[in-house]
């Protein structure tokens, strides 16, 4: 007989301590639910507000530039481009994030571990794929707008007079953005996706 079978014989006898935990009455259970709801909402809105604040900063900066230097058509057009590329992406990204956060909370029941993990992986992967595409378009565009605006406004002759400096600034801003994004992705997407993938691989290993 294996050690596991030996443990199984004594398992339920040795687990009496667990029965002592609780029981919950309606009031204490309600209190617990309220606290968890608050915690979950905080988690969802923490990401929401972080993204939203970042975009508000971009909008504030663009608005300031357009109001102050709006007489110059080039500056006005660049400011509007900045707005036009950021607004739809902000809206779609927050909408998708909300969908992912809410549905993942509802799927904890009924599904087997396999189905549940597969769903989680698929949802996270979909959002990550979308986020990657979004950043691949938005970051270079916004960085370009930012660099052109800064050089046009504060350097006599604008970008064309300081082409090398502008290109270096553009590359540096791209590198710093993508480095920050990669660090964030590793923590919130790449590593979790690997973990979920390893659970699914464990299923496959059985054939």
């Amino acid at each position: 007989m294996s050690a596991l079978d030996d443990l199984k014989k004594n398992w339920n006898g040795g687990q009496q301590a667990f029965q002592a935990a609780g029981p919950y009455d309606a009031a204490s259970f309600n209190q617990l639910i309220q606290a968890r709801m608050k915690k979950q909402n905080n988690m969802i809105f923490r990401y929401f507000w972080a993204t939203f604040t970042l975009h508000v900063l971009v909008y504030a900066l663009l608005t300031h530039v357009m109001v102050r230097y709006g007489a110059d058509t080039d500056t006005l057009v660049l400011g509007l481009i900045g707005f036009l590329v950021t607004v739809p992406f902000t809206a779609v990204m927050l909408k998708r994030y909300k969908q992912m956060a809410v549905s993942s909370a509802n799927n904890a029941s009924l599904a087997s571990i396999y189905t549940y993990v597969k769903q989680q992986r698929s949802q996270l992967n979909n959002f990550y794929t979308f986020k990657k595409k979004y950043e691949l378009v938005l970051i270079p565009l916004l960085s370009a707008v930012g660099v052109i605006l800064v050089f046009n406004l504060y350097f006599p002759g604008g970008v064309l007079s300081f082409l090398t400096g502008a290109i270096i600034t553009y590359i540096l801003s791209l590198l710093s953005c993508f480095w920050a994004i990669h660090t964030e992705d590793k923590k919130y997407f790449i590593r979790p996706l690997q973990e979920l993938g390893s659970i699914l691989d464990d299923y496959k290993s059985e054939g």
Binding site: A3, L4, Q19, R36, A108, Y114, K187, E195, E206
Partner: protein, 173 residues
């Protein structure tokens, strides 16, 4: 689910509360973390209860929700995966007093080394669930559960042998 708490639900939860604690006991060591996970499990159970149609036993459904919640918690709280070495980690473990106790401790340490899925299977096996119920909860086929359990038992024996050797090497003669 409506804001009002379903009386039957609360009764069932209280009756099966041990399930949440057992799942936590197998996956987590930190007491604070255990408490947090149990609360998260209860919250997810409350949220999922309207979807429980009674086709399976309440306990089977509860195992599913608790295990799925645990996996989500482990994924979201990656801190315990890269724990820094504390003083406790650097100490050579004492060999437990009695033989039976020593064996049980070795077994628990061996179970902790298993993959997340295999840990779930071990727990459900210890809880005396049928192969059909284990298959339903994990999403494996019945035959796979049976094959996997044989392999898990062998894996546990191998880990325990290794640990036992480690203990005998470090214990004073």
């Amino acid at each position: 689910m409506s804001a009002a708490l379903d009386e039957t639900f609360l009764q069932q939860i209280n009756q099966h509360l041990g399930i949440a604690h057992k799942v936590c006991g197998l996956y987590f060591t930190n007491a604070e973390e255990k408490q947090d996970v149990v609360q998260e499990m209860l919250y997810q159970l409350w949220r999922s209860y309207p979807g429980f149609d009674g086709r399976s036993k309440f306990s089977t459904w509860m195992y599913s929700v608790c295990l799925n919640t645990t996996l989500t918690y482990l994924r979201k709280n990656i801190k315990h995966k890269s724990q820094s070495l504390s003083q406790r980690h650097q100490q050579i473990p004492d060999k437990p007093a009695g033989d039976q106790e020593a064996q049980t401790q070795l077994l628990f340490e061996a179970i902790a080394a298993l993959s997340q899925l295999n840990k779930a299977i071990v727990l459900l096996y210890l809880e005396d669930l049928s192969y059909a119920e284990i298959a339903q909860i994990t999403g494996l086929s019945r035959s796979n559960v049976s094959v996997r359990l044989v392999r898990i038992k062998k894996e546990l024996e191998a880990i325990m042998k290794k640990q036992s050797k480690l203990y005998s090497d470090v214990s004073p003669r």
